[in-house]
């Protein structure tokens, strides 16, 4: 009797657990609303694109292709919700590169959708052909494409030959190491980039070049790194730009008070800066961001998309990607928000659009001298910018301006860098802690 009841209870318990188990898993596959979702915590450019796409869908495709935007009131809540839902099989279908998530680590764990596979599966052309191949190929990782850059900006700064000559440098052989030697001797007060958080972003982009996310290794212990660290550190340390004043005034660049200036990436703003500097008698020139080993040019993605592998209706994503890379969207948005479009035709259109009749001396009439200056500046700007754009071979995932808010830079090494730049910890301790934290982050 006792043995029988033992068997009965054990059978009952197993049956009971399996019932609740399938009960919970059964309706796991219940597809909630079959529309594509995007989570946003603030009105970013992806929301504009989605609103435009929804109107486009209303006219051309049917309404079921429209994308639903889910609002969140804070970044932390949104990120927590995204991680929980993605890991339990759901989550938003579209992710934007400006959301504070460690995108560089997603390649290895199947959370992101491989676009190439999707294109092959549905044999659908999303118009990759007429986008600038340099940027698109830079984002491809051994045959797999996880990220779609829409707008990008080359990592360049604007300066003038006169300013560089003041620190006896020339644009051709410009390097941050040489600049830091000059600046440390001349003891003159200067504003390196016109703003303290620009310097912080420069420091983060400098660190980023010594980390290789694919192989998961970082070279902070080499003496090349420690030597360059001293140059960059001294550059930033005695940078005297005031906390909240941005030296974008053209006189400051011309008379050398501010050494470099990061313009908006679009052709129009570049031509505008060039023409003002030309008008003030300077000869503007483009200078590369810090490049380890002086390699060729690199760019960073201003607006980019990634897609969730759990997406229930993947076929609806392709028209959206095609629309994002299409000529008229890229054209409208790059004019509206001064972006540099990926689509080649849109870029050519932006180049023609740049007019050069500027009324510099505000006498509400454009003299021929001003016209001549304008056209000369325009051609110089277009030539320089095109050389840089065509020689881009590498593309970082995060914008230069928001480098200090990325997941890695803010939560992993954020306070170590702040302490070091404030002078609380020594260089050796900084390198030791930086190596340890990066090591943990990369192998995690």
């Amino acid at each position: 009797m006792a043995k029988k009841s033992k068997i009965i209870t054990s059978i009952f318990i197993c049956v009971f657990i399996s019932i609740t188990f399938c009960g919970c898993l059964k309706n796991d596959a219940s597809a909630n609303s079959d529309r594509i979702k995007y989570y946003a915590c603030s009105e970013d450019s992806i929301c504009d694109i989605i609103n435009k796409y929804n109107n486009y869908c209303a006219e051309h495709l049917d309404k079921s292709y429209q994308i639903e935007i889910v609002e969140f009131d804070s970044q932390e809540d949104m990120n927590l919700k995204i991680s929980t839902e993605v890991m339990s099989g759901g989550g938003p279908d579209i992710l934007s590169l400006s959301q504070k998530l460690p995108f560089e680590k997603f390649a290895k764990n199947e959370t992101l959708l491989d676009i190439n596979k999707l294109i092959a599966a549905y044999d659908y052309d999303i118009g990759l052909g007429d986008c600038s191949s340099a940027i698109m190929n830079a984002e491809e990782l051994d045959g797999k494409r996880y990220f779609i850059p829409l707008f990008y900006s080359p990592d360049v700064f604007i300066s003038t030959e006169q300013t560089l000559k003041k620190y006896n440098l020339t644009s051709s052989d410009f390097s941050f190491k040489a600049l830091s030697h000059e600046l440390s001797d001349s003891k003159s007060t200067y504003s390196l980039l016109g703003g303290t958080d620009y310097c912080l972003n420069l420091f983060y982009s400098f660190l980023d070049q010594y980390i290789d996310y694919n192989s998961g290794s970082a070279e902070f212990n080499t003496d090349e790194f420690s030597e360059n660290l001293d140059c960059i550190y001294s550059l930033i340390k005695n940078d005297s730009s005031d906390e909240n004043i941005y030296y974008f005034l053209y006189e400051n660049i011309n008379n050398g008070a501010s050494v470099l200036y990061k313009a908006m990436p679009s052709f129009d703003s570049l031509v505008r800066t060039y023409s003002f500097l030309e008008y003030l008698g300077g000869s503007p020139v483009l200078v590369n961001n810090y490049k380890r080993g002086g390699g060729d040019d690199s760019a960073s993605v201003d607006v980019g998309l990634a897609f969730n592998n759990n997406c229930k209706n993947k076929d609806k994503l392709l028209p959206f990607i095609k629309y994002c890379l299409s000529y008229d969207l890229q054209k409208d948005l790059s004019i509206e928000c001064l972006y540099l479009p990926v689509n080649r035709r849109a870029m050519d259109y932006c180049i023609e659009l740049t007019n050069y009749e500027k009324d510099f001396d505000e006498d509400s009439s454009v003299s021929d001298m001003e016209k001549a200056v304008g056209s000369r500046a325009r051609s110089a700007a277009i030539k320089d910018y095109k050389d840089i754009i065509n020689s881009i071979s590498e593309c970082n995932l995060y914008r230069f301006d928001s480098l200090s808010e990325t997941y890695f830079n803010s939560s992993v090494i954020g306070d170590i860098v702040n302490k070091y730049l404030k002078g609380d910890i020594s260089k050796e301790k900084f390198i030791r802690q930086l190596t340890a934290a990066t090591e943990i982050y990369l192998t995690e």
């Binding site: 209870t9 054990s10 318990i13 919970c24 309706n27 796991d28 919700k81 929980t84 890991m87």
Partner: protein, 285 residues
């Protein structure tokens, strides 16, 4: 001769008492310091918690300017804190009540009744009890999603009610109850439920109060579950508000902490006599 022995004995007694007071001071100091800080003015607290300036922090219990400003801010000028206090209450009280009832029933079964697989099942319970939160956080989200309990208070109350913590605690105190009284009651033909209510419950009052206190404290300081299972901010308990204090509100963090501590303190003071002797065989008084 005798009084010399007396003096040595009295010296030993004094040293022991001093050591006792020292020990209590070590345990009470942070909490007393927290209460002292809650009477400081807003500016002094902000200055104290600002670690950027270089000089060392002095621990001064005496506030520069004794002011009830922090309490005034918390009780009168922050309506959202009071609402969040009630969120905490709504989440904690049902959990504590539920867990006590469920645990008492199960503990009685584990403690006194024999059935097959008793010890193996109890071992499974202990393992589930010790599993850290992170292990079952995401799968729990899936389960709650399927029962569509997300975004309502039950999502935190139910897992809390069925935690195995109470069962282990009460089983320990039930074990000390002699079997003779149960045998006698069973011979009189009393049903198990009557045995449970009339014999077991009165004797494990200490264990019950201890469980209520510990379970209350555990759910009162809950942070992870609400953050993940609730969508809108208005349902968050006060413990989350306390844990991520933006710089703006630094001034009232101590007063809010003290207000947050009072319910737990009340429960403890209420059951102090029983907590001191949760597992004593000989019943007091």
């Amino acid at each position: 001769m005798r009084n010399r022995g007396g003096i040595v004995k009295r010296m030993k007694k004094i040293i022991k008492y001093i050591f006792l007071i020292l020990l209590t001071a070590v345990f009470l100091f942070p909490v007393v310091y927290m209460i002292a800080c809650s009477f400081m003015s807003n500016s002094q607290v902000v200055k104290m918690l600002d670690f950027t300036n270089e000089e060392y922090k002095q621990i001064n219990l005496i506030p520069e300017m004794f002011s009830l400003e922090q309490y005034y801010q918390v009780f009168f000028r922050r309506p959202e804190y009071l609402l969040k206090f009630w969120n905490s209450v709504i989440m904690t009280f049902p959990t504590v009540a539920g867990q006590t009832i469920v645990s008492a029933l199960a503990a009685f079964a584990f403690g006194k009744l024999k059935f097959p697989f008793r010890d193996k099942l109890f071992f499974v319970y202990i393992v589930l009890l010790i599993l850290p939160l992170q292990v079952t956080l995401v799968p729990n989200y899936i389960v709650l999603d399927n029962i569509d309990l997300l975004n309502n208070f039950l999502a935190v109350i139910l897992p809390g009610t069925f935690s195995a913590f109470g069962i282990c605690l009460l089983r320990q105190s039930i074990k000390y109850i002699s079997d003779s009284s149960i045998e006698a009651a069973r011979i009189d033909g009393a049903s198990y439920f009557r045995i449970f209510t009339s014999i077991i419950l009165p004797q494990i009052k200490g264990g019950l109060i201890t469980l209520v206190l510990l379970c209350f404290i555990d759910n009162w300081n809950i942070v992870e579950q609400p953050l993940i299972y609730f969508d809108d901010e208005a349902m968050y308990p006060l413990s989350i508000q306390l844990s991520n204090f933006s710089a703006g509100d630094y001034g009232i963090i101590f007063a809010c902490g003290v207000m947050f501590m009072i319910p737990a303190l009340l429960i403890y003071l209420y059951g102090r006599r029983d907590i001191d002797s949760p597992f004593i065989q000989v019943d007091k008084s």
